[in-house]
């Protein structure tokens, strides 16, 4: 099997110089995905991908270059529409879904920029879970340790990057679902600010909190991809990643933000020291409203999910995975009053959170409270305490779906030499490019 090329920088240079053809690159990606052992792949769009790669090679041979994604293989989480492929969202409920009639807007933008969509990737059922081990197609396996979870719900999108199959994948993030699998699999995940990428053509989990995002092997690749997606004219170009001198970095110090795994806190602290050494100003910040704010998450997300799934759950409960059904059922009787109350609490507290961190440009904190846990395990022991897995993989990311701020997870080598740690960078005054700039400065390989 051919060596992976996962850096969009290297790949873009090789493709543009025609040292590597799009057809070779895409064929390699298709072969790797076909031979994948991490259950990351749902379906390949083999023939179309090959034909498009060949056409992009012709285009380049005639002098037409679409930018740094020209000829680049891209995979898409199976909740996002890709023309001609069904969107099954990891569920038997959608086993008979027809082929999507059109690309979702982000997929369409990538195609215009020369990307080749090679197929659909594994997702936690209906994107409702941060573990990636509940799906009609079985659990996704972490390429760093196949006995452990990938995190979710963009499980296949993270695994395909970590396994070296692809340089860029699309995911979605409603509470954790790009950043947490990125953290678990040791890759980079970017959740742009709310609304910056359209959720049209994406199977909804929660219209209030759904974000489309992207995953790459390194921060520079994420910047290249974001530069394409963020620019309405579709033209890309190299992006500068200058230093972080003078950037004000907030470290939230309330109990809420503490990891369960002490190695995570230690590793994040070391990353913060690197930022400080690079000239960033480090500021401790306090967020006394965070517990009350975080509590609005479930009533809103699961309320909205119930509004989508209630009818199907009544008609075909057996089509759902047990874990999904158990998560949804308690919200069957949710009142409009409770849901509206949660929306109001959010409207009241987000400005308070913003005010509490108004002195900083970004926040830096762990992405998750745990590193990858064994597949199918609901609780783990950590320092003599029992830690439930699901909330540990959601708690530190979901606040920024509630606020809608841009946030990225970047891997850092763990202080104990074990599985890597996700460090989260959250934009307060800065948006995606600024978040990626800070992420680039704290990444240590």
């Amino acid at each position: 099997m051919a060596t992976p090329v996962t850096s969009l920088l290297e790949l873009g240079m090789a493709l543009r110089s025609r040292e590597l053809s799009a057809l070779e690159h895409v064929t390699t990606a298709l072969e790797r995905l076909a031979a994948d052992t991490h259950n990351a792949v749902i379906v390949l769009d083999h023939d179309r991908a090959v034909a498009e790669a060949a056409a992009l090679d012709d285009e380049l041979a005639r002098g037409g270059w679409r930018g740094p994604l020209h000829g680049v293989a891209v995979g898409v989480k199976d909740v996002i529409d890709v023309e001609g492929l069904p969107t099954r969202a990891g569920s038997n409920v959608l086993a008979d879904a027809p082929p999507a009639a059109a690309d979702s807007p982000t997929v369409a933008r990538l195609r215009e920029a020369g990307a080749v969509i090679v197929g659909k990737l594994h997702t936690h059922e209906f994107a409702l879970g941060p573990t990636g081990d509940v799906a009609a197609t079985g659990p996704a396996l972490n390429p760093l340790d196949p006995s452990r979870i990938t995190g979710g719900s963009s499980s296949g999108s993270a695994a395909a990057i970590a396994a070296g199959h692809l340089p860029l994948t699309l995911g979605t993030d409603t509470g954790a679902s790009v950043r947490t699998p990125a953290a678990m699999c040791g890759v980079v995940g970017l959740k742009p600010a709310f609304g910056h990428l359209s959720t049209e053509g994406t199977f909804p989990l929660s219209e209030t909190f759904d974000h489309v995002g992207l995953l790459t092997a390194d921060v520079h690749s994420a910047s290249v991809a974001w530069d394409i997606l963020a620019r309405p004219d579709g033209t890309g170009g190299g992006i500068q990643l200058p230093g972080v001198a003078g950037v004000r970095v907030g470290i939230p110090v309330d109990e809420y933000w503490r990891a369960a795994d002490p190695v995570i806190d230690k590793t994040v602290a070391a990353a913060v020291e690197r930022l400080q050494a690079a000239g960033a100003h480090i500021v401790e910040v306090r967020t006394p409203m965070i517990d009350e704010l975080a509590a609005v998450y479930s009533p809103i997300v699961v309320g909205e999910a119930w509004a989508t799934h209630g009818k199907w759950l009544a008609e075909r409960p057996e089509a759902y995975q047990t874990g999904t059904r158990e998560r949804l059922m308690p919200f069957a009787d949710q009142s409009a009053r409770e849901y509206i109350g949660a929306l109001r609490t959010r409207r009241r507290l987000v400005p308070q959170l913003r005010a509490a961190v108004s002195d900083v440009d970004v926040l830096v904190l762990p992405t998750t409270r745990l590193r990858p846990t064994p597949i199918g395990v609901g609780e783990v022991e950590m320092g003599g305490t029992t830690v439930p897995v699901r909330p540990a993989l959601l708690a530190l990311t979901l606040p920024f779906n509630i606020t809608g701020w841009a946030a990225a997870s970047v891997p850092a080598a763990a202080s104990d030499g074990g599985l890597p740690v996700g460090v989260q960078v959250v934009g307060v005054k800065l948006e995606e490019r600024g978040v990626l700039r800070v992420a680039g400065a704290l990444a240590n390989g």
Copy 2:
């Protein structure tokens, strides 16, 4: 009692030339309000108003002129905060409300522009009703016929204009509440587009549909006031009302939009003929989704109202007026699913409605299906049919709270010589100034 001056044009000229002092004008308004026989007044801010009027006279004498509202008396619906006065929202539930700590943003903007806030005006209890006859302070009486309703919920704001007490009042409009009382009382009401005036400092009925609006005696006065409120620098200035030649006017012809009172349809048709004679292009439009779209109104409004009132209704049901309690109680058990479903239907159908009317600049249609009905009457006989009053006063206005488009009601002399008819102008391509331009062209005195 002094003769009223209700035109902001005439009043502004008289005040600026010092032919009339602000103190004289404000004192007259206070006297008229104190002697009001339509139950339009909740409380007067007499001493502050007199002091401010005198100070504005001094300011003008020194050459300081704040614009066309300099020294103009303004009344405010008692759901909108005015510093130092309680906001009681027409309810015994808020009988002990403390004085508001600050002006709502629109009140503050008016004061900066030289307006003198003279007091708070009658509202239907909690703004939850289009009739104006359900309130802790009793029903408001229509100055055109005191045996009939003013419409609501901005009942006092419309009555105070119609009675000649004031040239400008503020109201709120969640489904009808500026336009319907304007129509009932023969005055002009403007509901700006959603979000164009802040609802901060306003007792909420529905965060999804609440709008702050204004009422005046004539269209030109509304334009003068809107010009102040819409301009961030607070400076006003005369506004031109050119013709409507070339403006595309849509007439919705589906059954939904038909009035119950045939005089209303006849009068609106005559107004449309005047627009056509003035050079407007008249186009029939069809809106097949309107019944389904209109049906989202109650689940959203009353669901949100229940989220506010549920606790109080459980604790102090007797503090509510019977009509208000009866309107709220059916929503006690509303599910989040139903509420979220209504929001989703709205998101799906509003673009369809916009597409259906995309060929026109404005819509012109009746404001209400009935003219003012007797106070306290829930149904009327009309052409051999029983017509429930409440929906007849909501149905034609609430669609534009759902869409959030700017809309105004302007009075037209009825074809039968009876009580005037409200003609509604709704902005599709045009916003507030364009709506008022068309409204000015179709008004016939």
